[in-house]
């Protein structure tokens, strides 16, 4: 596939062309949805690499529920980005939540506290980063919303509360928020609200689905992006393209 063409992910997220002037899009809520057959973890890796490019000063706050730091470090190193160095440079904050558990199953207060403390850490980091000089976009990434729900003892309402607070950072600091969730585990009607709520609040929805024709050796799936910017609704569009998975490099 032609790599010189700006790929649609970047078109939607990073740059917004108004007339001929390229302006940085600030504060977008991106919801990435995938399924068992086609994992969309590569979208997170792509955004991570994109934000940590040497020519920008953007910061990523990464909240990991699915994989440890070493996992992401290995993948990003293959993509030409050293996370350990970025961590030292204060451009990459990795919050390891793999062990986050809310000890008390019944006590509502205790359940709140785990996510409340996490939110406190995020907001503190965002406050510090935004007080530093220079313009930068702070991106908050959550690598698995469904595992966060597991950590919150299955209470999707608490997860939504937490995410709502993360969204409020968009208004004040212009933060972007990228979340990954699995669509197929919410297929029963009772649990649909979590994924629907996220979609209602999203500016961009990215879905990874298997091809209708089955899996091929080089083409792993198709992606669908629904982009409905909330205030300037000029970018309402939905496009489809295929992504090629030539490990370790991802092309579109």
């Amino acid at each position: 596939m032609d790599n010189s063409r700006p790929n649609l992910l970047e078109e939607a997220l990073v740059e917004d062309v108004i007339g001929s002037v390229k302006t940085q899009k600030r504060g977008r809520v991106v919801v990435v949805e995938d399924c068992v057959e086609t994992s969309a973890a590569f979208v997170l890796h792509h955004f991570l690499k994109r934000s940590l490019q040497p020519d920008s000063s953007d910061v990523v706050v990464f909240i990991a529920f699915a994989h440890p730091f070493s996992h992401y470090e290995r993948i990003l190193r293959k993509m030409g980005c050293n996370l350990a160095v970025q961590r030292k440079n204060q451009r990459f904050l990795f919050l390891d939540m793999l062990m986050l558990e809310c000890p008390d199953r019944n006590g509502g207060e205790a359940k709140d506290d785990g996510l409340l403390t996490l939110y406190g850490e995020i907001e503190k980091a965002v406050e510090i980063y935004s007080s530093l000089e220079g313009s930068r976009t702070i991106t908050i990434m959550i690598d698995d919303v469904s595992l966060m729900e597991v950590a919150a003892n299955g209470s999707s309402n608490h997860v939504l509360d937490f995410l709502h607070y993360c969204y409020t950072l968009k208004a004040k600091y212009g933060c972007s928020l990228v979340t990954l969730n699995h669509e197929d585990i919410y297929s029963s009607a009772n649990t649909l609200p979590l994924i629907l709520q996220l979609e209602y609040l999203a500016d961009v929805i990215i879905k990874a689905e298997p091809l209708a024709t089955g899996l091929a050796s080089d083409v792993h799936g198709q992606e669908c992006k629904d982009d409905y910017a909330v205030l300037p609704a000029k970018n309402i569009m939905a496009k489809l393209w295929e992504h090629r998975c030539n490990r370790p490099k991802f092309g579109f």
Binding site: E123, C224, P232
Partner: protein, 376 residues
């Protein structure tokens, strides 16, 4: 039609009656409900500023968008934000609905978590206590009308968000309390229907006098969530939608209206349902072997048919045909036929119903009373 809604909200409540309420509903297939909400809000605001509306100001309960979003929206529509304190109060349930930021500030984790805005806002730190929310709304409204007899409008930007924290009965209670409050002029709110059970939408419909449904242009038959199959359609659904409004009028009648809405720039526009869509709908009807519609000639012929009893009282003696011809009738007819011959040629274009009585056993088709129980 959107004007009709705006007019109803502008005119407000009648003395001793509940305030008119509008509920806007949408689904994820066509998530344009917030556009409609913003449209109604700006329409009402311009009516208030022009002094045309019953309400003197709006209390906006912001749950899914920050107050700064509304400041930006009103500014883009050309309203002077610096004077907004005269006609707008925002109850900010967005920034800190559960008091987390307050807690973090007390613990010293963060310094100043709240966003500053030009609008006059009041912060709600516990959305779970709906009674406090209700009294804050009323207090903010009273600030606008300044203890006079004036009324204010209430706008809730998402009932779905309140329902996440509270039960349906308690939400219904505050809505109905607001409607019956003697200083509330009108109330409108948005609901994302697919996030809730069917009873939620039904409850809200009972509590409102107008419902506006934003529906997809074409309903998906299989209810699939997978979008990639029909991307052009998904794209259309994000741009255009059907706007279906039901008004419950004061005399008890229900008026239903349909329009099409489409996104243009950062706002929406309404237009009549285009004939183009009508044509597509017609062409979608499966091909059948018999005619579903009449040809032009058949239509004309049908229009000419004089229905039985239609000629009654037009000067002629009333004749009720019961399938039999009595002797003197046929005599009269013969006489008439000779006299009115020119007229019959004139009437030759007129259609008639030809009816043959099968047998004498058949009941005569007339208004005589076979079992003598009518009081004619």
């Amino acid at each position: 039609m959107a004007e009709t809604i705006s007019r109803a909200l502008r005119d407000g409540a009648f003395e001793g009656e509940h305030a008119p309420a509008l509920s806007i509903k949408d689904t994820i297939h066509t998530p344009l409900g917030s556009f409609v909400f913003n449209h109604i809000l700006t329409q009402l605001t311009s009516n208030i500023l022009a002094g045309k509306s019953q309400s003197r100001g709006v209390v906006l309960v912001a749950l899914t968008r920050p107050p700064s979003f509304y400041a930006e929206l009103l500014k883009n529509k050309g309203f002077d934000i610096s004077l907004s304190s005269k006609w707008l109060r925002v109850l900010d349930c967005y920034s800190d609905p559960l008091g987390w930021k307050n807690k973090l500030m007390e613990r010293g984790t963060v310094r100043n978590p709240y966003e500053e805005t030009l609008l006059k806002t009041s912060l709600c730190k516990n959305l779970k206590e709906l009674d406090k929310v209700l009294s804050s709304i009323v207090e903010l409204g009273k600030e606008i009308v300044e203890e006079g007899k004036g009324r204010f409008a209430v706008a809730i930007d998402s009932v779905s968000e309140i329902l996440r924290h509270s039960s349906l009965p308690s939400v219904a209670r505050i809505l109905s309390h607001l409607r019956s409050h003697d200083q509330v002029s009108c109330i409108f709110c948005l609901l994302h229907v697919d996030l809730h059970e069917a009873k939620v939408a039904a409850t809200l419909e009972y509590l409102s006098t107008m419902h506006a449904d934003v529906e997809p242009i074409v309903q998906r038959t299989n209810g699939q969530r997978s979008a990639s199959e029909d991307l052009p359609m998904v794209e259309q659904c994000f741009k255009r939608g059907k706007f279906h409004v039901r008004f419950k009028r004061r005399n008890g009648r229900v008026r239903v209206m349909r329009e099409e809405l489409y996104v243009e720039g950062s706002s929406i526009k309404f237009k009549e349902i285009s004939s183009e869509d009508g044509m597509t709908a017609q062409s979608l009807v499966p091909k059948v072997q018999f005619n579903l519609e009449l040809s032009e000639k058949e239509r004309l012929d049908r229009a000419k048919v004089v229905l039985p009893f239609e000629h009654q009282g037009t000067g002629r003696p009333i004749q009720i045909y019961d399938g039999r011809k009595s002797l003197n009738e046929s005599e009269i007819e013969q006489q008439q036929a000779s006299v009115e011959k020119p007229q019959t040629t004139e009437d030759s274009g007129r259609g008639e119903i030809i009816y043959f009585r099968d047998s004498d056993d058949e009941m005569p088709d007339s208004d005589e009373d076979p079992d003598d129980d009518l009081d004619i």
